[in-house]
Every structure is written in structure tokens, then in C-alpha cells.
Symmetry: C2
Subunit: 197 residues, 2 copies
């Protein structure tokens, strides 16, 4: 499967590279490419400067579209052209995975309406203001609704990526992959240590 | 503190970006820069292409020198010029942190001789062949010996980075940082789920 990763300035480092590591070790199954609205080098405040292709290079769809979060999402939700691209690619891709505040960007497209989704705990109130018709679930490590996977903050994206492997390839496969990178996978998507209500 | 991250082709994605996320969220304390032997774009098999400075730009030392692993380490251990640079920078830096097979590169410099260190479990026998005088500890999430921190495979680098924060800033500070990125920190460096002997 082709994994297309969306980047924008000030994306959150681990939102991207957690799931990228998980899919990356399975080269016989997953091929990863990085995209941004206009292509070129994308930078964040952690000193990362990474090459990307223009989103328009995704002619129709990718198998898996990964949307990370980061503080910049607060600006990008008003970037109509980017939201339109996210909508078009998400509609036609097989699966859409969001990490952290990435679910706010997806919510803005309307595609999460009447679907269950979650997000970063510290930005939750802001996130839900971007999708009034989404069935937001505050207490979840990640959620699955049809082809849409959404995870809680930052590190939760890694658990969700293994959860995705579990759904596609089975539990043994996912556990083996987690063992390979010595990751203590939190397997229960409904268990959430970080929801303080 | 300045954090200098060593890159080389086919570095392991999460070895680098796990600790980078941990230090990255603490911008008031840590500034991160990426280096490679000759500078420029460094690529790995997960599709990542990252900008880097030449190692020679580190005039003397950095406060924290981070050495990741990856399959390429098997080649780089014979890269005398790189090993010499790693030695010179490690000797003069305040702290040296290795992730996964990064400890093989550091072992090659001789600086780990008579010190406790660990590494990736699946490559352990190969790693220890690169440092016969190192006190290798197979069963550890990470080790600390003086200014040298070494972690087990891939994901263990994140736990080690929080362990480093714990040692520098105290436990409450480290726990707060882990909570911020919704990370289930495994606090005990001597607990190791992945050592099968």
C-alpha cells in the first residue's frame, strides 16, 4: 500500500515519524511518500527540514493518507485550498489516519460528520469547535470509524498505527512488528491514561 | 543546551525522531540541529530526506550528542573518518546519547571501554563484537554511565530521553513532559520486555 504523509510547516515531529517508523519497517507492504501543499522543504520548530512532493502529485488517491497535527493546524484550518485538497484525497483514499490535532483538519472537510473521532487532550476543546457534527470521543487512545482512524495526542499515533496493522494483518503480525522495534504497544484503543475530566 | 543529532544514510527513523520530539517540546531548554559527515540531504529507506549540516560545523562540541542506529551502522563502523569525528565530538560534549545500534558506533571509538552500555536486542551479538572491553548489559531499557547514555532498540530511545530529563530536571519535570505528548513513559531503565535469553 502507498502511504502518503501530509506535511506543513511546524508539523509535530512524532505525529509524523511515529507512524512512519511503524509502516517503514514493513517495506514489503508499505511505501511511504511525503507531501506538502506546494512541495519542497518543510520545516518545524524541532529543527527538522524534510523534503516533500506537491500534494498535486497525488493524482487521485493514496492507499493510506496520514494527517499529522501540530500548532500550525490552528492556521491551516483556514487554508481553504489545503482543506479542499485534504477532502479530495481523503474521499478517494482507502484509509485516512489522523494524529493529534490532525483530526481538526479532517473535521473541517466535513468527512468526519456523524463519525466517531478523537484528538489531542490539551487542544480538545479547540479541535471539537472545528467539527460540530463529529461524534467526538474524549476518552480514547484512538478511534476507528469505517476507513477513518483518528488518534489522541502525539505518541498515540504509534499505538494507532499498530492498531491499524492489527486490523489489516491480524494481532500476531502487529505484535511481532511492535516487538521488532521494542515498542510497548498499548493495544486497547479505548484505554486512555491522558484524559483528565 | 545544544543537541547535535548525527545522521547517516538509512538511519532508523524513530531512533532519531523519538528523542528529537522529547527535546523538541522543551524549546526553552534545548535547541536541536542535524549533522551528517558531509552535510546536505540524508535519506533513509522509510522515504525520509532530511537536511543536515556537515559534522565539521560542530567546532568543538555540543552539549548533547545523539547517535542513532540503523542497518547502515554495519557499514559506518568501518568508516574511519566518521568514527574519528564521533570520537572527537563525544570526548568534548557534555553528554552522549546513543539509540539502538548507535552504541556500536560509539563502542568503536573506544570511549565505552570499561563502561556499561546496551543496544538493540536483535543485533546484540553483532554490536558487542564492536567493543570487547565494554560492559555490555543485554537486559536494560537504557543504561547510564557517567555522561554516556545508551538505549536498547528504536522505541527505547524515547524512554531514555525522558530518563535523561529525569536526571537533569527531576522526575516531576520528566513526567510532565511525557504527559504533554501523551506518552506512557517506562520509567525503569532496568526493566526490559524485549530481552529473550
Amino acid at each position: 500500500m502507498n502511504v502518503g504523509v501530509l506535511l506543513f510547516d511546524n508539523f509535530e515531529t512524532l505525529d509524523v515519524f511515529g507512524p512512519v517508523e511503524v509502516f517503514g519497517i514493513l517495506k514489503e507492504y508499505y511505501q511511504i511518500s511525503f507531501y506538502s501543499q506546494h512541495g519542497g522543504i518543510v520545516k518545524n520548530t524541532h529543527g527538522v527540514a524534510i523534503e516533500s512532493w506537491p500534494l498535486s502529485n497525488i493524482i487521485e488517491s493514496v492507499d493510506i493518507f496520514l494527517i499529522p497535527g501540530g500548532f500550525r493546524t490552528r492556521k491551516e484550518i483556514d487554508n481553504r485550498s489545503l482543506i479542499d485538497s485534504i477532502k479530495q484525497i481523503s474521499e478517494t483514499s482507502k484509509y485516512v489516519l489522523t494524529v493529534c490535532t490532525g483530526s481538526a483538519l479532517l473535521a473541517r472537510t466535513g468527512l468526519l460528520d456523524n463519525r466517531v473521532a478523537t484528538s489531542n487532550k490539551r487542544s480538545f476543546d479547540w479541535v471539537i469547535s472545528n467539527g460540530e457534527n463529529v461524534k467526538w470521543n474524549r476518552k480514547a487512545r484512538w478511534t476507528v470509524d469505517g476507513k477513518y482512524y483518528t488518534s489522541s495526542g502525539v505518541s498515540a499515533g504509534i499505538d494507532m498505527a499498530f492498531g491499524f496493522l492489527n486490523d489489516i494483518h491480524g494481532q500476531e503480525f502487529a505484535k511481532k512488528a511492535a516487538f521488532k522495534i521494542e515498542y510497548n504497544w498499548q493495544e486497547d484503543k479505548d484505554f486512555d491514561n491522558f484524559c483528565v475530566q
